[in-house]
Symmetry: D2
Subunit: 341 residues, 4 copies
């Protein structure tokens, strides 16, 4: 069935599969210490303009978030995040499982606000009993956000400034980073991301890979014995080559950007389509996730012909649903959707 | 200096010290398996009218909360609490440290609302992706609350009903239970507390003891091998007798209620005093904590003569402060305060 | 360079890659709820003769061990394992990270002994202070062991009997299960494994897959909300299909057994080769790992021409090394090794 | 009944009770920030000759061990301890609960050996796969040990030297420190302990107090925000004064040493008594714990007249039992025991 359910419902970009096949019988040592991982890391460093970046490939997003947050925080520290942030809302408590509180900030279409962040931190240290509270040890944000929105350059710079002032790292979850970079409204390049954050990851799972996220410490500072930390969290892949070869392909000849651009092109067409047909947007975004508001019976009828995600019930008679495009979305799929609408 | 800073700033009720001395050279086995603990538990069962209650004495409130919550929850469950609840705000992340998220509900002068609780749970199970979220595994509330307020009988019954419907335990933090029981507006007896909650604790630290809380499972259901659970959390006191003898004294001849009543009498006088002198209340409560709103310079001046707690800054020129009475507050102290005001 | 370093130094069996390619653009829902996972699980159930088995696909071995052990144990329970068991020795404390002690038993060429296990449990319960100790909550063993050895039918039955008597689950780590099943000395079929253990996993990573382990509860009993448990441990793969399609291929037309048999054939040849050339075995095993004792200078010389693993230093002048075969080992590789030796 | 069951079966030394009563109605701020704690810490610093020592009072031993170990270790580090060490054997997994493995060393009458310790560490770093193992992050030992034995000056210096070489802290559990200091064979003063260890605690619970241990970082280095760390582990006592006043008394006019000496005097008499009556020692120690080997029927008979601890069954017809003296043991008790024997 036609599906805009999410951006991880097909396999990998064919070039990645081709490279997987090509290297299949090469013998490589395990645990990410192989040539393919080394090559991929080198290409990412070049793309970021960060020769000193430390890079590690992990399997998935929640795992990466848990390892970074638990790996960098002291036991008495928590991570500040939007109340809609993935770590706050949709990781089944993976952060708390590792011992840390997610300290929530108001979300503005998925984004946190630098002023509110600063105020939170000031209030914390002004409280005489703050030794009885959870210390702010890191700021987490996602780019694009879980709502498909993007921070402007000024917004991200303001947040980064607060973090540096407070001497806490800024961690950027780039599960859908490619879609933010290629957005027509995106103001930030990969080099900006590397410059403004202290640690971030480049999402592979949602941008062309079978699995895999590239965790980057752009100016170094990866915790000592990070292999042990990753192993301890159950995140060390024996055949690290599987991640290496995919990121090597994604960062060869600009493939990552090129396939990300497709998701944006298709999202723009999809938006036009919905508008043309008179649908109301709950949230129209500059990236690959679009939130459409349907009447309940409309949603029911549509669900028989196309897959999408339920988002929320704004009232008793309407439903907000999410349509995702991806690197793999085709014009044919949009034509079929047009016919359905 | 005169102090209304909190309700744990003196030692123990003299009767408890007397009994400590009296039993000092009796030989008792360790870890709460002694005659004094047994006797105390028996007296509490009688006071609650719960012959089958299972009771354990622990040293402090945060420890008790951590042990109960971690001991009863599955790893994927969190505890629902008011955003101002002690477990949410003032335990330095002790609940998250033990692996569980505190799921916050709006606080209404420190209280949660049964309707909002039910709505939260319904929304959770209606969400198609709730397996990626933290399950509601328990409801936590404090009686009196951190704001000195009390649930009415109807309010607590409504919350208990939601819990039973959702098949999750209701845990009542009674750090200041005595002050709630003896409040002139309190509608609930100790037997009501035992009937409506699934597990609760009777606070000793703030009500006459040097330390100690009596954890009660009124209808049984203490987790198996609870001694091991307590030990593992670092909460097993070698000389459990120290807790047993104090609770034995508190539950002999109604001492617990009697000394709690003193805090209420003194709080009523204190309220009258502030009103008489024209002070504005931020929150006037039926228990032993009173929240007064002062002009900043007023607060400064007062701070030189009497100790109280800073609570919050409602605006740039005012300060909300807390005055606590306790089982030990005397008329002389109130007279001195009157003179100062 | 020629390599017998380990059994995960090439990619996947070509049939798995072919199926990955073939299904690449099928749209599948995420998190293991897809048709490919369902089909793979169905085939495994058939192979086990366990129609009621509950099956989940996870990415790697340490992750699987952590999730099973933490998912099944109470907080005050630990897991009994050989002191050489993977969970005891080589998971960077992943089990302790999740809060549980690994209780060690003596290892006999990697195996635990039923009598020693029973004695351990009896001694534990006989100790009057056992509530101050870590309860035995599960038995872990690996088949084949980390030393390439195998339990006989009688040995495994005796261990299973102790577990049932003590009412604790027997968990079998089958990272190299195929190599145990196809060993010429192996007495146990996959159905025997399913019958004798309470939970086990069928290793994919070391037996033909890019990654992936199939966790099996042969008679049901998977913990409730296991998706949340897996997510919380960072182990939920978005594109679960990657695991499903590989196990579907492995369990089609007996591929798993067939490719496992190759490792055994090649191991037998490798053993013959070493013997023929007069090398001493530290441990000659019936599976795909062989432990050869070399003089230090011999080891040095060999290392220049072929990769293998350092195992241990038995004395000052010798080195024990490990040679692994796998599903991918070829006769040509053995010929080259013969020439080198 | 006459009891030599353990060294925590009576209350507190009368002087501590007297001071508790005397200070009972003084108003003190909470959480160990009070004058009594400050005074006690000052006296301990003087006794240690460590003006820069950082000191914190905690409630019990397991709690202290958990907080120190978890507070100082990185997540991927474990603590090295004798296999008979309290943290290894009798804390219900409190160390593992906090995420850390206890790495065990052979115990020689409860003691670890510097050479074996060094060898363990060398072997660890020599292992090529040590990033997949638990790093040695601290050495734990108890003085006296759980077997009542004492390290000689040379032994402790050798262990301390290994720790410094390996750059890992040496943590000394002094639950019974007083009894080690006053032992007739004890070679180490409190100043030696402070000089040779990096962190240690002075036991109160077993040496005259109702509860309480004084944790000492003799040359500073207490982890930042230690209050938050303690709170998070559930170990922050509201009325910290209870601990402060007791240690203040114990460290006034040498009370701690004086009352410890009584336990040693009585232990020497007890040993003489058993010898005189022809009993066999399983382990005769220079401190307050004596291990006597009885025929099973002898043990049975004795148990009716005096309480002691079961220790172990060396064979089918004998039982090893422990007799403890303490600061509170009297000559009358020994006379009664003599009559019984």
């Amino acid at each position: 069935m036609l599906s805009f359910e999410n951006d991880y419902n097909v396999g990998a970009h064919p070039e990645l599969l081709r490279r997987l096949g090509e290297t299949n019988f090469e013998k490589h040592t395990g645990y990410g210490e192989d040539e393919l991982c080394r090559s991929a890391a080198e290409k990412i460093r070049a793309a970021l303009g960060c020769p000193e970046a430390e890079i590690r490939f992990l399997v998935g997003g929640t795992q990466t978030n848990q390892i970074v947050i638990d790996g960098l925080l002291k036991s008495y520290e928590g991570v500040l995040a939007a109340e809609t942030g993935h770590v706050a809302a949709h990781e089944a408590g993976a952060i708390e499982y590792s011992g840390h509180k997610v300290l929530t900030l108001p979300a503005h279409e998925g984004k946190i606000d630098a002023k509110e962040l600063r105020a939170w931190i000031e209030r914390f240290y002004a409280d005489e009993s703050h030794e009885h509270m959870v210390f702010p040890g890191m700021v987490y944000l996602s780019y694009p956000t879980e709502y498909g929105t993007l921070y402007s350059r000024a917004e991200l710079e303001a947040i980064a400034a607060v973090c540096r002032e407070a001497r806490i790292p800024l961690y950027l979850d780039g599960a859908r980073l490619g879609y933010g970079l290629m957005s027509r409204e995106g103001e930030l390049s990969m080099r900006d991301i590397a410059r403004l954050s202290d640690v971030f990851y480049i999402g592979g799972t949602k941008v062309g890979a079978l699995c895999g996220e590239a965790l980057v410490f752009p100016r170094g500072g990866m915790p000592a014995h990070f292999t042990a930390v990753v192993k301890q969290h159950g995140g060390l892949l024996a055949k690290g080559r599987l991640l290496g070869v995919q990121f090597d392909a994604l960062f060869t000849d600009g493939l990552y950007e090129r396939i990300s651009a497709n998701a944006i092109d298709k999202a723009e067409k999809l938006k036009a389509l919905f508008k043309e047909k008179g649908y109301a947007f709950f949230l129209e975004t500059p990236t690959n996730q679009q939130f459409v508001q349907l009447r309940d019976e409309q949603a029911e009828a549509l669900r028989e012909k196309v897959r999408f995600s339920f988002w929320e019930k704004p009232d008793d008679t309407h439903t907000v649903v999410r349509f995702c495009t991806s690197w793999a979305t085709t014009d044919e799929e949009l034509d079929t959707l047009a016919a359905i609408l």
